[in-house]
Symmetry: C2
Subunit: 198 residues, 2 copies
Amino acid sequence: MTKVIMGASMSLDGYIAGPNESGFDHLFAWHNNGEVEIPAAHEQWTFRPGRASEPVVREYLQVGAIVCGRRLFDLTQGWGGHHPLGAPVFVVTHNVPTDWPHPDAPFTFVTDGVESAVRQAQKAAGDSYVSIAAGNVGRQALEAGLVDEVRVELVPVFLGGGTRFADDIAGAPVALGNPRVIEGDRVTHLQYPVIPQS
Amino acid sequence: MTKVIMGASMSLDGYIAGPNESGFDHLFAWHNNGEVEIPAAHEQWTFRPGRASEPVVREYLQVGAIVCGRRLFDLTQGWGGHHPLGAPVFVVTHNVPTDWPHPDAPFTFVTDGVESAVRQAQKAAGDSYVSIAAGNVGRQALEAGLVDEVRVELVPVFLGGGTRFADDIAGAPVALGNPRVIEGDRVTHLQYPVIPQS
């Protein structure tokens, strides 16, 4: 089965966005604070991580399909129709936008829930993996047992408020396995296997 | 100046205690899931961490003085008058307990705030360091610029609610330095230097 990874860059106090959508300069500093130039899928984006984070970024770029919520889609204005990782995007939403200016872009609006979005993404991902953003949609996927791995790109900053990585998870406590750890500059990459619930 | 370290065991979703004071079996599993037997300061406690976490526990036991809030003091019933790390404890509180059954134990109730408690603890700590619990008191110390290092013992569990490591920090974003990382079993030890604010 196609692997599903839930992840995000997160502050030490557990936020994936600061108050009023701030803090991204801190959260994503590691994308561009190094010497390894890695072109993204579209010419308007380039990553320049440090050597330690290079394999993490290269694996990002191999993603087969992406699931996100409407909040992230709106916040990024749908990445202008070009997700920087170059994969098809499945947007979980109650209301399909009527003014989306990129109808030919590989974006699918899914109105029947997170599980449907994950299943569609798995089909689209081919031999690769599905990435699901943390936050509300990621939490729902985790609760539904759809997530195989949780990846936290832990950034050494307190943001003091904002949007949480995963709040009020149903069925908690939820224990994960020990992480694989990669020490980058302005980020500690933590990759936790989800322990299947029997 | 005597070093001040703010720390706690924390879940991946940022809690140092779960809902209704639950989750401690997860948060402190690493204290006793290994093969290295380390007697605590009082015979009623023993640590048994894995090899990777051994130096962390040994350094715990070298603490010179401890600052905590009234919540932790009440929750542990003042550790029965014997803190497992064997150091004097400075409890920040608005109301000195009138029924404390261990008046000769090295516990001091500080009613004039966190800064006073930290200064008193620094005097008591001698050549060693001061440990301050995360949560409300730790956050206040961090905000006041009294903390030199933040230590997160990051546990692979989502607790879904409870008491946060540090919530609503004033002056955020607060960036820390890159951490020293020690990979234990059921814990990732992360030791972040605080960057002095100019």
